[in-house]
Amino acid sequence: MIGETSIYLAFVAALVALICFIAAALGNRGMLSLARGAFRVMSAAIVFASVYLLFLLLTHQFQYIYVYSHTDRALPTPYLISAFWAGQEGTFLFWALCSALAGLLLLGREDKYEPWVMGFATVASTFLIVLMLVASPFATFDQAPYDGAGLNPLLFDPWMIIHPPVVFVGYAALVFPAAFAFAALAVRDYDGWVQRALPWTLFGWLALGAGIIIGGYWAYKVLGWGGYWGWDPVENASLVPWLTGTALLHGMLIQKARGSFKKANLLLSIITYVLIIYATYLTRSGVLADFSVHSFSEAGVNAYLGLFLLFFLFVPVALLLYRWKEIPSPQIEEGVLSRNFAFYATVLLTCLSAIVVSVGTSSPIITGLMGNASSVDSSYYVTSNAPLVLLLALTLAACPLMAWRGNQGVALKQKLMIPGAISLLVTAVAVILGVRRVFDAVFVLLSVLALSSNLWALLLAAKRGIKMIGGYLAHVGLAVMFIGILGSSGYSTSQNLVIEPGKPAEAFGYSFEFKGMVKPTPAKEALWLLVKGKGREVMAHPEFYVVEKSGQLMRSPHIIRGLFYDLYVSPLDVREPEGGDLFVLSRGSQQEAYGHSITFTGFDRTPHADGSSVRVAAILEVEWPEGRTTARPSVVSAGGNWVQEPAVLDSGITIWLEGIDADGGRVLFRVWDEEPGAGVAFIEVSKKPLVNVLWAGTVLLLGGTAVATWRRSEEKARAKMAKQEHPNRTVRVKKRKK
């Protein structure tokens, strides 16, 4: 009740704030303080609802459907907290929370922009609140269940605690570039908004990028298919706004420096936010459920999400078109060998990539309209992005070598000497090490060139202060990532190994010995592998576990990390020792084996209490010179997999049930007189070069962006100070004439 009430309160406050912001924007400045008050009330109500949901999760209030669906009593506290954003209703609340908190930072600032920016942001908050009214996180059962359904075991990973909130912080921050663009159109100031919006663009881009990277890291570590990016619709949906955000970021920097790109930046700001809503629509509405490995929930929010999307597409775009003619487009003609052109190329290439990825992702919808819904496979994304990434690497390499207005040929050649020599050398080494495709060799050449030229520019920039290195550091990181992506995706090799007892198997210069099974936790079984090679000796323990609540058998890999490559060890299967003799017996018939007389008398089928598994045992009467017993070797089904449970007799023989023909009343079993040993392990070992290089690159990219965010936030604060000191002088972005 309390939770629902606070959401209703937030809704009413949001409407009041919206109306007052609109009134203030249209000239009634007196309404502004009322609008701010209502916005604060809305924020307080959302904060309260969030704290209340957290309280419900932490205190196991299972009468709330949301708490029941995403937690259980056994869940450790960090995961109880992360259950906040484990489901759709909670993510909308979290998103609304981030938006409200970010909005509070802008209240009372931003002068003439404030009512427009805040009005726009309030519309976004209102939509999120409406989604919560439709699908409330506070819906209840009539009776409280004793325990919850638990968290999806795949999400049992520290990275998954922080992945969703980081993405939603990014989503929340990226409403402001669109809001400032809208405000700029409204107040007809087509340059001033850029400085105000730039820190938000950088911060949102940083958070969204960090979220995407964390998601990839989690996929690599947990999902066990060996990759970090699968071109799945859910992944693509967050990548596309990040790509247009990249274009926007660079467009804003050109506009600040050169005064061009005014129209493009307004459009990109709006489009980036629309794409974020579209991403939410794709992943939450279930339209792509047949085409993704992710499952979707449908909660009847589609229509509202659609409205949300259309509003933020049409209203700002209509205003943009209305103002289109009066927005100046300065004619700046600069050579192709200029930094200006490098930025232009970056915007063009990232936008093309965004288009290519969205067309692929939306393919089932597009082709569905024409009849036969089809998806594209991942080769489409790789093929179509390859030339774009190659050109991007070229741009990245060239950019720091050039000045804004273009280079003289001689200066460029001089600057190119050392980085060029380094990259030729590295490419030669790469070819010797096994890079064969021409495309790859060129890509290595350009990436290393980008790395060295940006590193060199970074060192020069560092002399002017550590704040100045952000962009270069991010670009060094991107170049490093390019190399890591090429190595790990293009040159990964794998081998399937069968490891028999006492016979280590060899792969990639390492030997893998199967020592037996261990239980890292009561619910999990792990292979115990001794890996030796290259002067190292490591214990690897890839795990199997059955998720009790859904009966799924999960495998999690063991990754042996190295500077130059990772060894990725995936468990496939494990089988009890093979050997002994196989026999087929019909009901009532008898067989002699290892001095024992074995008679098959019938089956014993016991369903498990909850019906999720069944045990089938063969009843065997066994006699030997010193005694007799009834042996019950059995098989247990666990999530579609049959697990054998052999019968070990006092006389020293072991009987496995290998097969059942229930209709014919026959069984196939194996008798063996040796101790059950370690059995046979089946694993897949992959050698993935340069994965750590990729991760190192992501850290540099994000670190560089963080530095740039810091620098631009300070610039914004300084511009504001200057304006307060000289209220009559308008601070404008410097415009140079041609």
Binding site: H294, S295, L348, L352, A373, S379, L388, V498, G639
Partner: protein, 121 residues
């Protein structure tokens, strides 16, 4: 026209043609088993795994199973690749591959979890 716009336009036109080709080549339509048998290109089929027919070959890294669609039509599938994490216990799968001589050869499976759990992001 400015030089950079000419270059931009050329890049865009050239690229669009290239990307459209890549798109057509990799389109995998969702079709019935009957249609899949008649085509030699990569397609996508959807059905339930018949649990009794699943056979693993760990040495070759393959899984064989019968896929049954809603009309009861059966398709023998040979999948080669990493076993999807939730393969056991999965019922509904989308299989991407091509049909040849009585068997549907696949290198990609999409598993629909029976649970309502949501994915990563």
């Amino acid at each position: 026209m400015k030089k950079k716009h000419i270059i931009g336009l050329l890049v865009m036109v050239g690229f669009t043609v290239f990307a459209a080709g890549a798109y057509r080549a990799s389109l995998t339509p969702y079709i019935s088993f009957q249609e899949a048998r008649a085509k030699s290109r990569t397609v996508q089929v959807f059905g339930k795994i018949d649990e009794n027919t699943v056979r693993y070959d760990n040495r070759a890294g393959t899984i064989e199973f019968d896929l049954v669609d809603e009309t009861g039509d059966t398709l023998r599938v040979l999948y080669k690749g990493v076993r999807p994490n939730n393969f056991e216990g999965a019922t509904d799968v989308a299989v991407i591959g091509r049909y040849r001589d009585g068997v549907f050869y696949s290198e990609k499976l999409l598993i629909k979890c029976p649970s309502k759990y949501e994915g990563g992001s």
